[in-house]
């Protein structure tokens, strides 16, 4: 549709006249804005303002723009809608173009007489414009668009002025760019592609910032405050502009910042629900619990595989030596089965496993080394847990060797040392689950009013 890849030339534009040229220009401008803005996602440094590296930055910007514009084709269809309703692009009055001063200054309504969009009436939308790092400028004589930011200082203004008109795309420039930051193109393009095109840049920005930060937001408007005047707060407005153009069209499958947050939180909730004994419900703890649980599952899988191998070995041996009497020794022999057999790599290894389980009133810690099982029990005082646990252990065919423990405050705390009978296919998880199950059952069976 337009041949010029990255340049918006306001001078040509004004020569063309109103109407058709304008939407294209705006579209282009939007495109570039977004490109720049997304770039700025990666460079969140507001604090430096230096004029020194202007030219270097400029060339870098050119590079970026060329790169981004290629990626921006997906943007065009969204922008197209913007274009299609030029009337809704309210304040872009052609006359203002000519004067070269379109102020999106919140504090300055009279500067732009055609603020036909009412900020308050429009619904909150993802803030497209927070990406528009609109440097403050008074009148730039040769550039058609200047976005005013009341708090901006003049250095960037001076910077912008330095750019020739043909590079007026860089008007929409953020002071950040003069930082000679390496182009994080892969990161950017990944960000860019992971978000729905066009509309989603504000959310992607929110996403990037929340990637390692938390969501600071009120309904999706994340505005940098202007310590150095980097950002505008009225990003809402531009977003509203764009939004307006979309009403009446089919809803596109984009995700607002809120939706992303909700999906994000849902995932954490799902993760939390999978873990057997969740502790705190803040995100770091959830992830920590998940890590521990994955490790535990891996241990359990290894343990069960080992048991299965041993059983298989015993069975094969007993099949082969049906007439022999010392079948009971086969398991031991399996432990020193020739190492050359690759299929039975589990046999010679030492079985070890541990896991923990918590329920409302009970904590169980089960450790297994070889054939010894150590069970630690921590139980709120109410029932005679010694008796119940020893019953459970008998049921599980665990030979109780040592018990130690007693009352500690409101709790019972006991340590059980047991031995697994040979040939038993018990694994740590089964023991823990059984113990917890029994304790909870018995605990629940005792009426709460009874006390000793």
């Amino acid at each position: 549709m337009y041949e010029e890849p990255g340049c918006f030339d306001p001078n040509n534009f004004t020569a063309e006249g109103a109407g058709s040229g304008f939407p294209q220009a705006v579209q282009k401008q939007f495109e570039e804005n977004m490109d720049l803005s997304v770039d700025e996602l990666s460079y969140h440094h507001h604090n430096h303002q230096e004029d020194a590296a202007v030219s270097a930055m400029e060339s870098e910007l050119q590079k970026h723009l060329a790169f981004k514009v290629e990626n921006c084709d997906n943007n065009t269809h969204m922008l197209q809608q913007v274009v299609d309703d030029p009337n809704q692009l309210l304040s872009y009055d052609h006359a203002n173009w000519n004067t070269g001063d379109i102020g999106f200054n919140q504090g300055d309504p009279e500067q732009n007489g055609h603020r036909s969009f009412n900020i308050n009436s429009l619904p909150q939308t993802p803030d497209l414009l927070n990406l528009f790092h609109l440097p403050s400028s008074s009148l730039l004589p040769n550039s058609s668009i200047s976005f005013a930011n009341s708090n901006h200082d003049t250095t960037s203004l001076g910077f912008i002025k330095d750019l020739p008109a043909s590079h007026s795309t860089s008007v929409l420039y953020d002071p950040l760019f003069h930082l000679n930051l390496p182009p994080q193109s892969p990161l950017f393009s990944e960000l860019f592609q992971s978000i729905p095109q066009g509309y989603s840049l504000p959310t992607s920005r929110g996403g990037a910032s929340s990637l390692f930060g938390d969501e600071r937001d009120s309904s999706g408007v994340t505005a940098y405050q202007d310590g150095d005047g980097g950002m505008l707060e009225f990003t809402r407005d531009m977003a509203c502009i764009v939004r307006r153009s979309e009403t009446g069209k089919k809803k596109k499958p984009f995700t607002t910042e809120r939706q992303r947050r909700e999906q994000w939180n849902d995932k954490f909730e799902a993760l939390r629900n999978m873990v057997p004994s969740p502790t705190k419900s803040d995100r770091a703890s959830i992830v920590g619990d998940a890590i521990e649980y994955i490790k535990e599952l891996l241990r359990t899988v290894n343990e069960i595989k080992l048991l299965a191998e041993r059983k298989r070995c015993v069975r094969e041996r007993s099949k082969r030596h049906k007439t022999e009497d010392d079948a009971g020794e086969d398991v031991k022999n399996c432990n020193i089965w020739p190492l050359g057999d690759p299929e039975q790599s589990y046999i010679g290894s030492l079985r070890s496993s541990w896991l923990q389980r918590k329920s409302k009133d009970t904590e169980v810690d089960v450790r297994i080394i070889d054939d010894e099982v150590t069970i630690k029990l921590f139980q709120r005082k109410k029932i005679d847990c010694l008796l119940f646990v020893s019953k459970v252990l008998e049921e599980l065919k665990l030979d109780l060797h040592h018990v130690a423990g007693g009352h500690i405050g409101d709790y019972y705390s006991f340590l059980f040392n047991t031995k697994i009978c040979e040939g038993s296919s018990l694994y740590a998880g089964a023991i823990a689950n059984k113990v917890i199950e029994v304790m909870d059952r018995e605990y629940a069976a005792v009426p709460p009013t009874s006390s000793y």
């Binding site: 969140h44 507001h46 993760l271 992830v287 994955i294 015993v314 018990v403 296919s425």
Partner: protein, 208 residues
Amino acid sequence: MEETISPEMEFLGSASDALCIAQARRRQVYDDNSMYKSKNLHAERRRRQKLGDRLLALRSLVPIITNMNKATIVEDAITYIQMLQRNVKVLSDQLLEMDSLSVQEDEEPTRDEINASEQMKKYGIKEDVKVTGIDGNKLWIRVVFEKKRGGITKFLEASTSLGFELTDTNVTTSKGAILVSSCFKGIYGNALGVEQTKKLLQEIIRNM
């Protein structure tokens, strides 16, 4: 948790730091308590760092990863955990199947039981009951009896059925004998004298 952070992460980390600085500065406009603000900033930063580190650790555990952003790390972890849980279920079912197929003879326990009384004789361990009164109506008991299958359970059961509970307990098994040394208390506040308790316990182990 290893210290190395990928350059992208670090970059974004510092990016979010800058965000925070910007925000903190904004707060300064409204609040003069700058000390509080800077402490908060550090806490925030540390909190985010903690979450980031843990997410990296989580990702390092999960073998199948699709993308490298926070959302997919959690997603992939969920998928992986589900897979592992399924594996555990399948494997443990297999194990149970194998158990039911092969019938094991319980030769071992009787052998042990025979050994127990022999061992006790060998080491000169005798069955014994000692009872001492402590602390009001609490008693301290010391019982030695022969190790049998489920012996401890039987002892506990008997005591409970007679209205006593063992509170601070120590049970040891050695050389075919079981030693129980414990506080002995009446559950319902009942109390027996020392001699009576001793007789009771002797009765119990005799019947085991």
